[in-house]
């Protein structure tokens, strides 16, 4: 098993008052599984990913990532953000090689690996480009390559495509499915978009807000690669949307 959340709760205290953000979260994610967390904004999705990445610790309950407590290098989990958070003073290839440089891989070697992963996300021709020359979709691809070249066992993705236009998003949905099939990483993908969740996830966990709890988990047994316009997706979307509306109340 890749990820195990057991009765996890998280409260933040702000200005003296304690706010319960997550409550009694139970979730198991298998190795190489693709799980989407779906919920309205403010329901604690990012907080949940931050717990998995080790940036926050639970108020109660246990979080186990790759058999360890989160945040250790050995947990081998990489978090991706909605804004690609590339480093503008580095070229595209040096951005991709950032984590390799942190591991002190020699420069020629990390350039080679970076080139390989830029190829994987279709941006090989842009390896010498500057970050500001890239579109939003290209930036997310670079961020993806930057994470993938570390060969992480777990990818934690926090609404990575939320600020992209529909066409770019469609394209990236295809690419992410292809890459996931090729790398067999475990992916926990956060979104507030029902179709996106159904296109990508093996399972979709619907969260309800205040406090954030898992309302229901939907298995998605549709063949891959899936597309936005697949009838199966539309059909499932109705049920998930209904659950989401229920959750909002």
């Amino acid at each position: 098993m890749s990820i195990h959340l057991q009765n996890v709760s998280k409260a933040f205290s702000s200005r003296g008052a304690s706010v319960q953000v997550l409550e009694h979260i139970e979730l198991e994610v298998q190795r190489a599984e693709f799980v989407c967390l779906l919920g309205p904004s403010g329901c604690g999705k990012s907080t949940l990913l931050n717990l998995l990445a080790g940036f926050e610790s639970p108020s109660s309950g246990t979080v186990i990532v790759n058999g360890r407590s989160p945040g250790q290098p050995a947990a081998r989990a990489v978090l991706l953000f909605q804004d690609a958070t590339l480093f503008p003073w580095l070229s595209v290839e040096d951005n991709v090689a950032f984590g390799l440089a942190a591991q002190q891989m020699p420069k020629p070697q990390r350039r080679r690996v970076a080139a390989e992963y830029l190829e994987l996300v279709g941006l090989h021709d842009f390896r010498r480009a500057k970050v500001y020359q890239l579109s939003g979709g290209m930036r997310q691809r670079v961020a993806l390559a930057r994470a993938l070249c570390l060969k992480p066992e777990i990818l934690l993705m926090d609404e990575p495509f939320a600020s992209l236009d529909a066409m770019t998003r469609d394209l990236l949905h295809e690419e992410l499915q292809r890459i996931w099939l090729a790398t067999k990483a475990t992916i926990v993908f956060v979104t507030h978009n029902v179709r996106e969740a159904l296109i990508l996830g093996d399972r979709v966990a619907v969260l309800r807000p205040r406090p954030g709890r898992i309302q229901r988990v939907f298995p998605v047994d549709l063949p891959r690669p899936r597309h936005f316009e697949d009838p199966g997706i539309a059909e499932l979307a109705r049920g998930v949307l209904h659950e989401l509306r229920k959750a909002a109340h």
């Binding site: 804004d83 503008p88 984590g99 942190a102 570390l150």
Partner: protein
Amino acid sequence: MNRRFATKFSFLFVVLALWQVLAGLQLWPNYLFPSPAEVLEVYTAGIADGTLLEATVSSLARLGVGYAISLLVGVPLGLIWGRSRLVQDTVGVLMIGLQALPSITWLPIALLWFGLSEMAVIFVVFMGAVWAIAIATRDGIQSVPANSIRSARTLGANSLFLTIQVLLPASLPSMITGMKLGWSFAWRSLMAGELLYYGVGLGQRLSQGRELNDMSLVVAVMIIIIVFGLIFERGVFQPLERRIREQFNLG
């Protein structure tokens, strides 16, 4: 570019011509309003006997050493200041207070600590520049987006790597502002220090000019300071700023 150069050159010429005309009218006695020719004479004499050259070199040396130490201390200080809550709540408050103190007020202490030596003036220069540099570095560090830091962390960066590869480069635009401010504070401190403390230097030339009623010497020294100000602004800080702008594409 050529036209702009011509404009600058013509402007300089007009200023000099106006100055010469004003001096030629003899509205004020010579020792109160010297002519450009007299100032030029100070330069030729000062370069010939080496006094002005020596003064310029020793002042620049003090400035350079004091400023270099300010950078070496100010940047790491700002880094720790920006990162550590504990430092912000303790030493940070103290440093904000010290920053408000005109650096020349350190001269009496510096003279007691270091005696009548170079170190005393260098210390005053250091005290003048270091806070601006440290504060700008702190501001830069604190404005690094939290997600950039988390991104680096999740990619496996340790604290040292994070600092060198993310925090410092991200803070450069703010740091350069602090470095410029620190540089001008360093000059002010140097002049204040040299005016009060007798040793070879431009400040000492200035007070000598006053004592000898030699206004042309005073003006000559002021022009030297202006020229070096321009040289460093145009030759060091502007290219540095431009490079950083390009790196970050700030336009």
